[in-house]
């Protein structure tokens, strides 16, 4: 009997999977992803202190190479405000105050976009380039990769908001996707995500943890690159 021959199984007898499994997956997955994020930027932290301590040819931070303090403070304020709003919005979502969550989520999104915009403006006006020593390299590499991650996390926030808007008329904990709607197979997928509105709560919580971690990394970035 080949593997392909064994596909027709009576899915009516198959025990369904609880959606709580997906919720726990999101929670644990976000913690692990946050751990990985820390290690992405650990490499830059290591690079900063390594190059600073060596200061090869006195070129770690030559004269005239200074990160723009105003931009640094503005970026980090945007990030912290965004994380705070998302944290409060997640609480609203858990308490089924979904209009309030959407409002705060939009605010978090806007502040995140503002942080990216400010970073791009900062790059254009910093007055030093990638060839200007170790600090300049670390600054551009670190903030560059950080901006990519901020952008990706904002995409995740957008999906949560979009889902919340799409299902805004559905009662919390009641809305069900018809069997097969989730991914197309009327039998196999009947127990796929059954309740997107409820699941959105878990997703927003997972996102909040990830975003908070990323913003914490952003604060460390600011301390290292702008304050030290």
């Amino acid at each position: 009997m080949s593997e392909l021959a064994q596909h027709s199984t009576d899915y009516g007898v198959v025990e369904h999977e609880s959606t709580s499994t997906v919720e726990r997956n999101l929670a644990i997955g976000s913690r692990l992803w946050a751990s990985a994020l820390v290690f992405f930027f650990f490499a830059f932290l290591f690079a900063y202190f390594y190059l600073r301590s060596l200061n090869e040819n006195g070129l770690f931070k030559p004269k005239g190479v200074h990160a723009p303090q105003g931009f640094g403070i503005a970026i980090v304020i945007c990030l912290v405000l965004s994380a705070t709003l998302l944290y409060l919005g997640a609480a609203d979502q858990r308490a089924d105050r979904r209009p309030a969550w959407r409002l705060k989520g939009l605010g978090a999104f806007a502040f995140g976009i503002a942080a990216i915009a400010l970073q791009i403006i900062a790059w254009a006006s910093i007055g030093f380039g990638p060839t200007d020593g170790g600090y300049a390299s670390v600054y551009l590499g670190w903030t560059g990769l950080y901006t990519i991650f901020v952008f990706g996390t904002l995409y995740w926030l957008e999906t949560c908001l979009a889902l919340s808007y799409r299902y805004r008329g559905e009662p919390f904990g009641k809305a069900e996707v018809a069997p097969g709607d989730a991914s197309g197979d009327a039998h196999r997928e009947a127990h796929d995500i059954a309740n997107p509105v409820h699941l959105n709560t878990s997703e927003v919580s997972a996102l909040t943890f990830t975003w908070t971690t990323l913003v914490a990394i952003g604060v460390v970035t600011w301390l290292v690159l702008y304050v030290l």
Partner: protein, 618 residues
């Protein structure tokens, strides 16, 4: 209908979009203007164009497979889902499929193909070394061969066991129906395939002379082939990080009732410890390669000492990832061997908790040893004692694994099946690899042997002798369960004996040749070493030929003869062997309940997992 299948989201579309994406990126990259780029462009080198081309090529490839559909749907607020194309017939093997068993088989074939290419490179290397002077390749081509071989093997084999076997069997072993994030699971595989293809393109851009480590400043000054190396390893890093994350979440959250941490099969523990290393070490690699790519494109100076950087930074960061990666390669092999031994010794795993302690100990210590790779690089001498000690400490938890293996064999009713032979060979090979490693962890002897064929033979004993023998043991043990067809036992034994003897005949003498002073990565060598090198090369060719025996076995039994495999051909009490062969799409009708003993051999009954297998309908 056939036309619709051809132009849908599948491998064919992916290849077309990948190639189109590559050339679009190449064109876009050439639009970037800068003084330095124009300077290099005059020499035919435009690294920005190549990086952009690789990026857009990979994006096109993934879009063609259908990976963009779901993110776009989510962007529009569509509900999340878990599964895709799990019942799409044979086509599911050629595209995005979220069935963990399909992904496991995809990994086995995909990784197998690239390992075969890496093996061919090794044959070419050994061909060149038949003579002490140039025979077939000049120095640059030889270095590129060495780099391609090492990079391909090290990159692909990071997922060599977790990709095929953990993806396939960990959900079964923990009583789950799927992986936690099935799309990410599929993504890890296709990223790896894109990476392997990119690495092959290095040949079109002049190759790369850096070996698998990509050390600066050589990697900064070399031609565009290094860009392929960077893109390859960055994709491998992303793939392995996501693979590890997915595995960890699956094991943490989706274990069936009764399956506490102390009841997990030991292979699952091997997977957990490997996954932790993947999640934490791979990001460092990706960031490091990001820095290297910036140095080569934006002219930053992370590793350029004339401009305020330092090549030592690269070497440190690389090995912060690189040494845990060695254990990413070793730990799954340990898990497989300890999984196989109880089955064929008909005894419970001896010292289960000791084995878990050993694996966790290796996992933790592997982050604290990286500078032993830099003993002769000129680092501060005061750092040496700590790293020598931490490296030698790691032999303790490794010793736990050996004790458990030998304890399991002791007074067992041993059956010398093919999987068991490979498991026993692992014990011998890894012991030789471990003992030779002590010389490299010890500063005085490392100063003598570093950069010689001794260190090369050492890591081939650990990685090939450890991982690859465990890999083949796993193939012979689990492939009948995966495909539903038996492998030929006689051909399997021929494969094993030829491979085992030829392997030791190849790498044993290389330990000696290394001690005699033959350096790695140099195409010529002293004339008095020619006889030994001829012996090694001929042994290597026999080793390569043993792979052909395996291929014949695989194709003959799985494509032509196709003898149905029994559900439990080995008399295993592990849960995956309580299911039909091959395993049904949804694994279990009902989630199983586990008893207290993961290895109830020796006449203990009533402690096996309670499994309700699928009921196939007509």
């Amino acid at each position: 209908m056939k036309l619709r299948r051809l132009i849908g989201f599948n491998l064919l579309t992916a290849v077309v979009l990948g190639v189109v994406g590559f050339y679009v990126g190449w064109w876009l990259g050439h639009l970037v203007k800068a003084e330095s780029i124009e300077y290099f462009d005059d020499t035919g080198q435009n690294d920005i164009a190549l990086f952009v081309a690789y990026f857009t090529g990979v994006v096109g490839f993934l879009v063609g497979l259908g990976f963009a559909n779901y993110p776009v749907q989510r962007l529009l607020g569509k509900p999340p889902s878990l599964r895709e194309k799990e019942t799409a017939g044979i086509g599911r093997y050629f595209g995005l499929c979220t069935d963990h068993k399909v992904v496991g088989i995809q990994y086995l074939i995909g990784i197998g193909a690239f390992i075969f290419i890496g093996g061919l490179n090794a044959m070419l290397i050994r061909f060149e070394l038949l003579r002490p002077t140039h025979l077939a390749w000049n120095g640059n081509n030889y270095l590129t061969l060495v780099g391609l071989h090492g990079t391909m093997m090290m990159g692909m084999m990071t997922s060599g066991i977790l990709g095929p076997f953990a993806n396939y069997f960990v959900p079964l072993m923990i009583g789950a129906r799927r992986m936690a994030f099935p799309r990410i699971e599929a993504l890890t595989f296709w990223l790896l395939m894109a990476a392997g293809t990119i690495l092959m393109t290095a040949l079109a851009f002049g190759g790369f002379p850096t070996g698998w480590t990509g050390y600066a400043p050589l990697s900064e000054q070399s031609n565009m082939g290094v860009d392929a190396y960077i893109a390859f390893f960055a994709l491998v890093g992303l793939s392995m990080m996501l693979l590890g994350l997915n595995m960890l979440v699956t094991v943490i959250t989706m274990r069936a009732p009764g399956l506490s941490w102390s009841r997990l099969p030991i292979f699952v523990w091997g997977t957990i410890t490997t996954s932790v290393l993947m999640v934490l070490a791979a990001p460092v690699l990706v960031s490091t390669l990001f820095m290297l790519a910036l140095d080569r494109t934006a002219q930053t100076s992370f590793f350029n000492v004339q401009a305020g950087g330092s090549p030592y930074l690269y070497e440190n960061l690389f090995w912060i990832f690189g040494h845990p990666e060695v254990y990413v390669l070793a730990l799954p092999g340990m898990g497989i061997v300890l999984e196989i031994l109880p089955v064929f010794a008909r005894k419970p795993l001896w010292g289960y908790r000791l084995a878990v302690t050993g694996m966790v100990g290796i996992m933790l210590l592997s982050f604290l040893v990286w500078q032993h790779h830099l003993f002769v690089s000129g680092i501060n001498g005061d750092l040496r004692p700590f790293y020598m000690l931490s490296t030698e400490l790691i032999s303790l938890p490794t010793g736990f694994i050996f004790v458990c293996a030998l304890g399991t064999l002791w007074a067992g009713r041993i059956r010398l099946t093919v999987p068991m032979l490979f498991a026993l060979a692992w014990i011998f090979n890894f012991l030789v690899g471990g003992l030779s490693g002590v010389f490299l962890s010890d500063v005085p002897s490392d100063v003598t042997t570093h950069g010689s064929f001794f260190s090369m033979a050492h890591f081939h004993y650990t990685i090939m002798g450890g991982l690859l023998f465990a890999f083949f043991g796993a193939i012979y043990y689990w492939v009948p369960k995966m495909t539903g067809f038996e492998l030929n036992e006689r051909l399997g034994k021929i494969h094993f004996w030829v491979m085992f003897i030829a392997f030791n005949s190849t790498f044993g003498p290389l330990l000696v040749i290394g001690f005699l002073g033959m350096p790695r990565r140099v195409v010529t060598y002293a004339g008095y070493l020619q006889g030994a090198n001829e012996w090694v090369s001929i042994s290597a060719f026999v080793l390569g030929a043993s792979m052909l025996v395996f291929l014949v076995n695989l194709v003959w039994t799985q494509v032509f003869v196709r003898t149905p495999a029994a559900a439990n051909p080995w008399g295993s009490k592990s849960i995956e062997f309580q299911l039909p062969s091959p395993v049904p799409v949804h694994n279990f009708d009902r989630i199983p309940t586990f008893g207290p003993d993961p290895y109830p051999y020796g006449g203990i009954e009533g402690t096996r997992p309670v499994v309700v297998p699928a009921r196939p309908t007509a």
